[in-house]
Symmetry: C2
Subunit: 477 residues, 2 copies
């Protein structure tokens, strides 16, 4: 039957290039070098700066967001570990250099520089999983202009994506209180973004993911049993359930809404017995259904069988199910799209650089009211006597004073609590601090997030629109 | 000064894993196999189906969306070429198999099946770049259950992401009419999603991208000159402009809004002369600014200097600048986030499979009012006598009749126009049709999109909320 469809396919448009002129193999979809994940202007700026000598000025770039998404009370930093993992792969090999030459992007001097490029500078930042607020300098990249400017696109791409997901995910785990939330959104976002989204979700408290690659790369727990297609593949629902129980034992999760939910629940318990692990509901009015299914399961003696719900949930739907007898939430689309805020708006701004005499000078864009601020910032969170966050404190002033600043108890208001310094070292002279990468990095970030979120004022966890949970204040040394 | 910051970094939380227990090298961020970009349930379904014998039933899965994003009039299919490029990399190597075994995901029989897996079935679909409507079967994957079910997550991830971007991009190029639109959003989405987004934007009519990797992989034109950081790096604006003109000639684009726009424009023409290629405005009231800058440029004699605008544009902002003297639009955030609709909601549904006797049977989920429909569909667009699209026609019925169906002029209403069949062959018995992949695939998809969009009724290009531009009707054979 395929032959028929093939033979009668619509003719391709006449403008189609001839298949004969194609390269023999499809292009690779993934490549070992990440260096071309870069906006062209970074290389053109580099070329001009190498020519005029400014490329070697010492620079500090800061990553921060000017505002939180509308109504959000806090953001969650995620992706830092992925930035660190990406650094060693940010190298220009012969393939990349040949392309840049062929495409006429930069001149020979710049190609020579790129051939030897690796990042040898220093990166400092908030620990992954930490909460952030408008202006929080979540990452500081320090090095020559040449080496630091090249990281702009990759750093922002990772942090903007992963932090958007983690910020949404934190609202979901907050709304779910003690019930586990599972990540199932891989199909609704770019295939590699899905892996990063699963990772970011776990940073923000999710219990597991359906994404196997994320399980492999980051040691995350993976979950999943069957889709409607499995039931439809079989001649009837009892055959499908029997097959699944045979393969995975009665502790499996059976999807009971392919045909008729009450019949499905009945058949599920028939197939697995009262030791059935869980039933999954993927459609309908989940709150009302959960009540009915719970009653039916209990009546059938399956009192320990859990109820998993998974249909287009977001943090509001999760909160709305708080009183329903639901045991586990599965979230897909709204997680991977940041629940209405799919990116964070973080920027990578040059805030200080040396002048011709080698002295560090603050710099800032001045033509508009964009609230960027020149100069390197130290950052601390002020906590009250109960350990509750009160303010995000940014410390500015002469660079050498900012660099050596630390809370010493003499700051205004510190008698009412304490200051928790926010920056930690991430990369030192090009060497990555391994405690923030890989599976350990994710586990540490999840711990960091739990701690940081618990410290926020109560209002921070409300889902309704509101202002940032704490104000950002600036101290000038 | 780095030492100071490093020495005084906050202590990591006590729960941090010791860096000593980490693997020596960071985890790889990209891997050659795409096979684990898969939801776990596909493998568990496979295991149960291999055990009960249904894994070898012949199946047809269809990809479609039940609805367009709120108010959108049409969707744009993108990513098909990337699906085809990904197929050869969807293989389970020893690394992947060892993980699946270690994590206890599936049993030995399933691991053996996966070890030999490659897709040998057939894929038919709308050509990339084609417009689509609710229910349009944009992709049909046919093969055994075992081989087809494994592709669900990867196929959906690619099509949902890329089509969301292309659907937004098409509105932007439509609003820009004949002015070029450039893609600059890499920093606001996942680093690999940015590459796919650039590709999808070009499918929908964008003229180029800032993303070098997209330029490399797909032969796209890349663009970009300088950011504010370049101006701030220098002692003053004239020094920065002089350096850029020295490096790239007067035809370059100078960013004139770092300090004061009128002064910036004046200095730009001083630096490059009246042959200055373009000025870029990245902040402020772009419409009013463009008028002032145009007047100033003309007064300075730089009458051919173009004006590029790039601050948080979307299709509505582009439309709002139609009367302003703008020459080129650069779009970032709203492009890569799908301008409010970051995913497409496409699903991958089993619509037909053989029964125990080898006869093809339509199947569908029946418990709720989700508008999925059993059985394979043929698809055609009905055009009126002027070649204007009137209806999306889905043809259902006995499978052998649907497979051999083609428009023959006898269909109801066909005397008023003609039917354009929508499906083309993409993969035949596992062999990819190379005309849809790589750089040629993107060029062909862009042509397909131009043709298809031009065919839609005029109302389709309105940006205001409305219904789908044409209704989807079903014919039963």
């Amino acid at each position: 039957m395929n032959d028929a469809i093939r033979g009668k396919g619509a003719s391709p448009p006449e403008s189609l290039a001839s298949p004969l002129s194609l390269p023999a193999a499809p292009l690779p979809t993934l490549r070992p070098s990440l260096a071309l994940l870069t906006d062209r202007y970074e290389l053109t700026m580099l070329q001009a700066a190498l020519a005029d000598g400014t490329a070697h000025r010492h620079c500090v770039f800061e990553v921060f967001t000017r505002r939180l998404p509308a109504g959000r009370r806090y953001g969650v930093l995620a992706g830092t570990g992925r930035v660190l993992e990406a650094l060693p792969a940010f190298r220009f090999g012969e393939t990349e250099l040949a392309y840049l030459e062929r495409a006429g992007v930069v001149d020979d001097r710049t190609l020579d520089f790129l051939r030897g490029y690796r990042f040898t500078g220093t990166i400092t930042g908030y620990p992954e999983g930490e909460t952030f607020f408008p202006g929080s300098p979540v990452l500081q990249v320090e090095g020559t202009f040449a080496e630091a400017v090249l990281l702009e696109t990759l750093v922002l791409a990772i942090l903007n994506h992963d932090s958007a997901i983690a910020s949404a995910a934190s609202r979901m785990t907050s709304a779910a209180v003690d019930r586990p939330v599972l990540e199932m959104g891989s199909r609704r976002t770019h295939e590699q973004a899905g892996v990063a989204a699963a990772r970011a979700a776990v940073v923000a408290g999710f219990a597991g993911t359906s994404n196997l690659e994320a399980g492999f790369r980051y040691g995350l727990d993976t979950i999943g049993t069957a889709a409607h297609a499995f039931t439809l593949l079989h001649d009837d629902e009892p055959a499908a359930f029997a097959s699944q129980v045979e393969a995975f034992g009665p502790g499996t999760t059976l999807l009971v809404d392919t045909y008729d939910v009450p019949r499905g629940v009945e058949r599920a318990v028939e197939a697995a017995g009262t030791g059935l692990g869980a039933v999954r509901l993927d459609s309908g009015d989940l709150g009302a259904l959960a009540v009915e299914v719970r009653e039916q399961l209990d009546a059938l003696g399956a009192t320990d069988t859990k109820i998993v719900v998974t249909s287009d949930l977001d943090e509001h739907a999760i909160a709305g199910l708080a009183a329903a007898p639901v045991d586990v939430y599965g979230v897909g689309t709204s997680l991977v799209t940041g629940s209405g805020a799919p990116t964070c708006g973080m920027v990578y701004k040059l805030v200080a650089r040396t002048d011709g005499a080698g002295r560090m000078q603050p710099v800032e864009k001045a033509s508009t009211r964009k609230s960027s601020q020149g100069g390197r910032k130290a950052a601390a969170r002020r906590l009250d006597r109960d350990g509750r966050a009160v303010e995000e404190v940014l410390v500015t002033g002469p660079d050498e004073q900012v660099v050596t600043w630390e809370p010493d108890g003499s700051e205004g208001g510190a008698e009412d609590g304490r200051l928790r310094r926010l920056h930690v070292p991430l990369v030192t002279d090009g060497a990555v601090d391994s405690r923030w990468v890989g599976a350990y990095g994710v586990a540490n970030a999840a711990t960091q997030h739990r701690t940081s979120r618990a410290e926020l004022p109560r209002g921070a966890r409300r889902l309704s629109h509101g202002d940032a949970a704490i104000p950002t204040v600036t101290w000038r040394l």
